[in-house]
């Protein structure tokens, strides 16, 4: 039991079966929401990533089932309204969702069925973490996983505001925000994410970020040889790269895939609100209060003089007399 679990490099292999202590420690947190200073991490975990090869996906939703199974969530049974998505959207109980797009390619005149597994992208520069006001409710580990710590979450929804991908969903019952954890609890004990393990076509792979980029390059080359000239890897640099990446046949138009952002980045509004506005705002309010206090202590107050009182009596009396005469 003394040896910690190995860092997982794949979701394909079966995991170790002996119980092993978690290898994802509190000291591996490199960033935490609303927390300025963290102790320097003692080690650097290998950066991990999930690679979703959209060209291999058959839309079977096994990943969704595996996700529900592993995370023990209970998405509501909804009404069929004639779309492929089920449930209709990401929910606090559905961390990943196959989104389907019917695309008529103007070049080939063919109908393409674009299926993208939506979910948290695990940004290197996470907008949710930047926006969150609750200390330690959102953390980022040195292996790249961005995780929500529900015990610290206050359910305000600022993460929704911060996320460039529209991922977090706030529970109506528990009042905490939920999203894909990249199976941090599995990764901690040497296993790959449940969705990757369940995927029957290996459209979802998991491993080190480096190896996933290599795998993506192979896949892109293959797709290009099959006529997808614009095939490419989606690892958007506007958010510092992501730990969930896509291989897209149309990497020049990510938004074809159910509105995947072409160039996601943390909104400048969020940056301004969470950056200078905080410090300057606090300083302005503090200075105003301190200024008022100092002026109050040292400046002469505006006091009523006995003369004012006299004048008032004269005025009131005088007017009273006039009132009686009238």
């Amino acid at each position: 039991m003394s040896e910690r679990a190995p860092e997982p490099v794949t979701a394909a292999a079966n995991p170790p079966i002996q119980p092993l202590p978690s290898n994802l420690l509190a000291s591996d947190v490199i960033r935490a929401s609303a927390t300025a200073e963290l102790p320097a991490p003692e080690r650097q975990l290998t950066q991990v990533a999930k690679l979703i090869d959209v060209s291999k996906c058959i839309g079977c939703k096994a990943c969704q089932s595996a996700c529900i199974e592993w995370n023990d969530t209970h998405p509501d049974v909804e009404e069929n309204v004639g779309v492929y998505e089920n449930p209709h959207d990401l929910t606090p109980d559905m961390f990943t969702l196959m989104r389907f797009t019917e695309y008529e390619n103007p070049k080939t005149n063919e109908l393409e069925w674009l299926i993208r597994k939506d979910g948290c992208m695990h940004c290197a520069d996470p907008g949710c973490l930047k926006a969150c006001p609750a200390p330690g409710a959102i953390v980022q580990y040195s292996n790249g996983i961005v995780d929500f710590i529900s015990d610290n979450c206050i359910g305000c929804g600022y993460c929704v505001t911060g996320c460039p991908f529209n991922i977090p969903r706030v529970s109506k019952t528990a009042h905490v925000s939920k999203k894909c954890t990249l199976c941090s609890d599995r990764v901690a004990v040497g296993q790959g994410p449940a969705c990757a393990k369940a995927c029957p076509t290996k459209a979802i792979s998991f491993g080190t970020k480096e190896s996933m980029i290599e795998l993506a390059e192979e896949r892109v080359e293959d797709l290009k040889s099959r006529g997808y000239d614009n095939a490419g890897l989606y690892d958007p640099q506007g958010v510092g790269g992501t730990h969930v990446m896509y291989v897209l046949h149309h990497a020049d138009q990510p938004s074809l895939y159910a509105g995947l952002p072409d160039d996601p980045q943390i909104s400048p509004v969020v940056r301004g609100w969470k950056g200078p506005a905080k410090t300057v705002g606090l300083a302005v309010a503090g200075l105003a209060a301190a200024g008022a206090l100092l002026h109050g202590l040292f400046a002469r107050a505006n006091e009523v003089t006995p003369h004012d009182d006299e004048e008032a009596e004269n005025l009131v009396d005088g007017a009273g007399h006039r009132g009686r005469e009238a």
């Binding site: 609303a34 006001p133 929704v160 606090l282 109050g296 505006n302 009596e313 005025l315 009131v316 009132g323």
Partner: protein, 229 residues
């Protein structure tokens, strides 16, 4: 009968003559004011705790982050209702008048204590009117943007890009409200004899003569014939 009120509100009256005491706020208005004030303070503390991580500990005053998140918007609505009642009572006498311009230009004289050089005023001076209209506008902005970012009940009322702007505007408007709040509280303390208007409801004749002479004049002229002598 008594002349029409121009500078005073219903209920304002000379309460005593020797020494002069002038009724400025009725009980219901004072209650209304203090409910608003209490809401404001709760909102400032809870809002500040979300505004800056170094102040998050203040959520402990309300029973933790979750409770504070729940409480803040509800108290906000109570404040809006309460402020609205104050607004209805006070807006008319806060309309700008010609003397406000001169008063504002000579505000330096007032700070120096030469209030005699300033024009005579009705129930409110330009500073008080600024506080009134400033707060009214900011509260309107705060409630509008606040509903847009109220995750619990209105999660989809606006799109996420709009919500980003709303949350930033909410913070800025709150900052403005805090500054006005400081001006309001400070002015009430610095101008001695003011606070009793909101506690006991009356001010001294000297206070009324010094700061709101037209208001005092009007009330003096409206007195019922004195039958005590």
């Amino acid at each position: 009968m008594a002349e029409k009120r121009v500078y005073s509100a219903p209920g304002d009256e000379i309460e005593a003559k020797h020494p002069v005491l002038v009724g400025r706020y009725r009980g219901i208005t004072r209650l209304n004011h203090w409910v608003t004030a209490a809401c404001m303070i709760v909102l400032l503390i809870s809002g500040f705790s979300f505004f800056h991580p170094s102040l998050f500990w203040m959520t402990g005053l309300f029973g933790g982050g979750q409770t504070t998140r729940w409480l803040h918007p509800i108290v906000g609505l109570v404040l809006v209702a309460s402020f609205l009642m104050l607004f209805v009572q006070m807006w008319k006498l806060n309309l700008p008048r010609r003397e406000d311009v001169e008063w504002s230009l000579k505000i330096g004289d007032m700070l120096k204590g030469d209030e005699d050089k300033l024009p005579e005023l009705g129930k409110y001076n330009a500073g008080q009117k600024f506080v009134f209209w400033g707060m009214s506008a900011l509260i309107a902005v705060l409630v509008t943007t606040g509903i847009m970012i109220w995750e619990e009940y209105f999660p989809h009322i606006v799109s996420i890009p709009v919500r980003r702007i709303a949350v930033a505007v909410h913070a800025l408007a709150a900052l403005g409200a805090i500054l006005i709040f400081i001006v309001h509280v400070y002015a009430a303390i610095w101008t001695r004899g003011t606070i009793r208007a909101m506690t006991r409801g009356s001010v001294t004749g000297g206070w009324a003569f010094r700061h709101h002479r037209k208001w005092l004049r009007e009330l003096a002229g409206r007195q019922r014939p004195d039958t005590s002598k």
